[in-house]
Subunit: 396 residues, 4 copies
């Protein structure tokens, strides 16, 4: 692997130069006023990216997994029921975490490649007249399968059922990549990390809590200290942290949200869609299909591409790394060996995307798959040419 | 505050150039073999720094506080009894965490400035014939008071009492600063972070588990997922991590342990002692005293300096920052306003230390304290001259 | 232009991460012994890259142009005759410099796209029985046209003519890219810079002087102080410099030569050839031709590609920059508007090269040129696949 | 030597973090419009720092020595007479350069420690009724002796003599450190470098040419190409450079001038004076004297401190480096072994300065000089306390 080539794993992403420099800070006194000037703009920036005016944002030195734990331990008690779908590795892991924390998870299994079954959710919630279910867990973007679920529809399911459960959304690989509307969709806890749409190195769990979720905190019986948002809130109120904050990453988060908001969130989303669509055109040109069952589920962050039956998709990933120094993502869990993944989130350019597609073509031909060199690249070029032209005309 | 001046908070420390560059990495594929080549040497390096051949080392994207939570949640169950002393803010916080996780903490309160009362521990452990106490918590270096406790003596107390409790040590501000002997002292869980003796930015909890602590993991009833060392161990065995690893910090940890081991741990400790002793000579020259009750308790990582009755010590810290751009540590908890702290851990030179002392003198004179300009500097210079000379002669 | 995309100008090149970090140094005392530990290995490394055991290497804070001036002012006097070919912008500029310094330049004009006419040189040198010609100037790689000349043949011309003139070679865009043999070819002054094969930022002129060139120094009448190699030699002998040295760039040069020699010069050259050949396959697939008149002249550093008559080649360069954020090189001088250039020197990977080719295709289609999307990419992929496979087999 | 300690050589200076990051750039296309957006603000910034509205500024990949060569070769012809004083190593070197370029230098030797003898200059200029003297060379700050000369007085000498000679000023270690008024003083060529008041790594010669100097360019007979400002001017007019520009350093220069102008030049000068005055108070407390003959000549950039007769001052520099890892400057030329130098230019803080003084004290005591530990530090502290207080009051 060469650090000169772009990376096509579905996060951590390629880190823009300006963000590397923002993170690489000399030590400052995190108990001095300098720290507040980093922390608060970072928190405010995240709030805007979440499209929320009401949320309280908390940032932990941790990862998205820590963000999930923050969500459940601050709002729930052992024995509480939660509703969730398992449609990929990351939704599976969140369910597993809930079970290990003694929650009673009602799991709706979906085939991997499907999204959240909102009709089924509505039935279950409607049937739960006792309101045993305290929270609904939704993975917005299943990174393992490249599936985007419809969070607005999950909200509608709750509303139609007249159910008061909280809505927790794993937006790790959606937030800052495509549209996320915390307030409009009534999301109670939104979870993400630093290393996806925020384009930073890993090391931060980023969560937003709605007023309703905040109200649940005092009654929550699950033990927590490191992830207790009450300590965090008290720290923030005093321009501090309950323990040593990761100052450099927080400074990076401040700069990253500035970058995203300066570009304009809708432009960021359009850019992700544009790059993703080029990748999908290439996949079609190769005669291959996505793991995601239908276009409505296609993710603009990552594409999981099915390989022919009997072919071990992991060979693509290892051959790409060993022969061409390029990193793609392997399939995980149920789709291990059946898909390989191209991450296309963060500050990717057309040019970078094309180099990934060109590499994938060489790899697949090397391994005997019936792909024509240049075919996917040409399809993506046609898309990028067209859409770049549009962008230019708009800019003119 | 100027980022050009050295920093004198008791961690995070000044970061050596080579470590800043080691941390500031482009993204690599953390599921590729490149990652194992970073992870395993880092873990091995930490093990050597802990002076352990038996421990299993785990590193989390977190902080020392997360390391405490790792220690207790992986080994204990709600209702378990633990024994601890409260002799400063950090020992207090660990006790608080235990209580919030439902442990039954037998607290021995000490005046702040004292160390762990090992005689009293021995009495309590001897009296606990039912072996209700499952773990003894010991803060090796109380960062709040600049007190070093005697961990070997805690081990002797356990041994004399014939008590099987595990020994958990918070070595956040001692490990890699002064002598720590995990195996010899029978430490079962050692906890530290990246931002003290390892001289890195904050963001890592680093823990070592003895075989005895490992044996307790399956029976531990406290819920945990993010901090579950079983997931972590499975990840490491596959050259991976259970979630996205903080690759840059891990690379920094690899390079930091190389630096420490290349210098030689005993030389690292001698260097810390030398710098600390100069600071103490300056304090004496100022006619002031340390918070630590007697020389045997003096910490080589941080000195907490008592200010005269009726004087608010925090004024020193804020004046130093505002007027001279230098960061010292404030007093915390019981000693807030009564002490200010000079951190002298990490890769500090004589020259840097002298600039901190010179600044403290200006500040104290500015604020009307009866200190003579140059007096502490001269005392420290005399010490550094003498000891630098020795070093030179040894090298010759 | 995005700093995320690779750059395809014929130097400065993309800078490897490790070299950026080597250059970005804190200030050290350049009169201390630390400096010698940077300087001398850098000079020794350059000597090996020049394949010379006899040369003295000098490095100036300057550029290749300063290197030319170093060559002539240290060896020649006003009125001296020199022999040179003009076959591109850079050979033209060197000639211009000689004329401005009062030298009598015998210019052999060649059409741009041709190399050095060694037969004609032999005739001229043979005819110069009075040995008026003191130096022969040879541009090894004409960066403007992508033409590689045959320096060994220039040496043969000198030898056959029995002519004692010195041989000065501009190797700015050949040295460390493809084969250069200072001693074997009897090169008397070799000139290069930091920003091409050495992959560093611009800022250094790097020259090697043969014993014969050194012998000419005292008699040289052209005035010089900044570029006087006698001052430089005295400085080096005392581990210093005659003025403030560019320490960071010199440290980069040390690390760059280590990288090149660790890889092995022949491997470096093979890598350049391999990448260049893929680009040439793409050009052929586009139905286009190089500016270089025939394969023996094809440069492995840069390809200048002819565009159809009546088409302004500069439009390709500006459109690529404005629409896709990618930098190619424009044509210069006689071939301005007639060619565009793809630089492929330095640490370029297959993957980076393919992204440049894919971009060039989009640009040319956008501008109405009869190029098929994906065609050049496919041709290059076929070459890279094949040659990567060979590399793998060799490595296995 | 430790890169953690501040450096006290009289340039290159300690480099502020933001400037290191500004210089450390990925490669951009220097023929693209991006380059003009770096170049022109840098040139404009320099012009403001020179306090000139009329000058044309040129920046070369070179050093201050190259700046001298630019001054003379672009304006003079072999045989031209120039007037200069030799009062230190740098004025000596400029004279030497002139002689090596065939100029007829009328040298007024001064004892080292004295400034430019403006009365004597006036006599010579008055006597030169034929106006043979084409240029007067003035070293504003003799870095070797820590002497500041009075450039306004040199201008008065020219004016009183009614002499049309141009005035060339070496401001390498004065510009951006203390007051420099190109237009008001009628300076025709001002010369400096990147590594002193601009706080950047070495690698740039920076020159300003007055309209009068520009008018001399076409008639200047000295050969030059690399340093020919006509090529440079043509390049700038086309947003380019006549050869490969050092883009990162130019970007650093842009940011450095922004920093200086944002702080305010008068504040920058006051800061330098304040720090320098503290150093001078320390020297007095040590019972030592400066090389500069009287206070009017004291430099705010560097202090050269005389050591007792019979004591080799170089021992201070080597002992400081070897024992304490701190770099001071040695004496050069006539004052070699008789002085050591403390550089205090650039972004130095009180705290950094005090650490240098504390080190010097230890070194001198180690070497048996009759200096009292802490004495100089105390004197400087008293000054910094007082002046820091004033700064605070002004800010309040």
């Amino acid at each position: 692997m060469s650090t000169q080539n772009p990376i096509f794993i579905p996060g951590p992403t390629n880190i823009p130069e300006v963000l590397r420099k923002a993170v690489d800070m000399p030590t400052i006194d995190h108990r001095s006023p300098m720290f507040g000037k980093i922390l608060h703009p970072a928190l405010e920036g995240v709030k805007k990216v979440l499209k929320s005016t009401q949320a309280q944002v908390f940032v932990f030195p941790s990862t998205g997994t820590g963000g999930w734990e923050t969500a459940i331990t601050n709002t729930l008690s052992a024995g509480d029921a939660v509703l969730a779908t398992r449609n990929g590795m990351f939704s599976h892991r969140w369910i597993d975490m809930c079970q290990r924390h003694g929650l009673d998870v009602e799991v709706v299994d979906q085939s991997w490649g499907e999204g959240i079954p909102t009709d089924r959710f509505e039935e279950i919630l409607t049937a739960d007249t006792a309101h045993r279910i305290k929270a609904v867990l939704a993975t917005h973007n299943e990174t393992a399968t490249g599936v985007r679920s419809d969070i607005a529809a999950v909200r509608r399911a709750l509303d139609r059922a007249g159910h008061p459960a909280m809505l927790f959304v794993d937006g790790v690989s959606s937030i800052a990549c495509y549209d996320f509307r915390m307030d409009e969709w009534g999301v109670d806890v939104a979870v993400t990390g630093s290393q996806k749409g925020f384009m930073l190195p890993p090391g931060l769990a980023i969560v937003g809590f709605s007023p309703k979720a905040m109200a649940a905190v005092e009654g929550a019986g699950l033990p927590r200290t490191f992830f207790d948002i009450r300590d965090m809130a008290r720290g923030y109120a005093a321009n501090g942290f309950p323990y040593t904050p990761p100052v450099g990453l927080l400074n990076g988060l401040k700069v990253a949200t500035d970058m995203l908001l300066d570009e304009g969130l809708e432009n960021v989303f359009a850019r992700h869609h544009r790059i993703a669509e080029g990748v999908r055109q290439a996949v079609a040109a190769w005669g291959m299909t996505l793991c995601a069952a239908r276009p409505a589920l296609y993710s603009d962050s990552v594409s999981a591409i099915r390989t022919p039956d009997g072919f071990d998709a992991n060979r693509i990933v290892s051959h790409a790394l060993n022969t061409y120094g390029v990193a793609f993502g392997t399939g995980l869990g149920d789709v291990a060996g059946k898909v390989f993944r191209i991450g296309h989130l963060g500050m990717l350019t057309d040019v970078m995307a094309l180099s990934g597609l060109a590499t994938a073509e060489m790899v697949m031909v090397d391994l005997g798959l019936p792909v024509t060199l240049g075919s996917g690249v040409a399809a993506a070029q046609a898309h990028y040419r067209h859409s770049a032209g549009q962008a230019c005309r708009r800019a003119a």
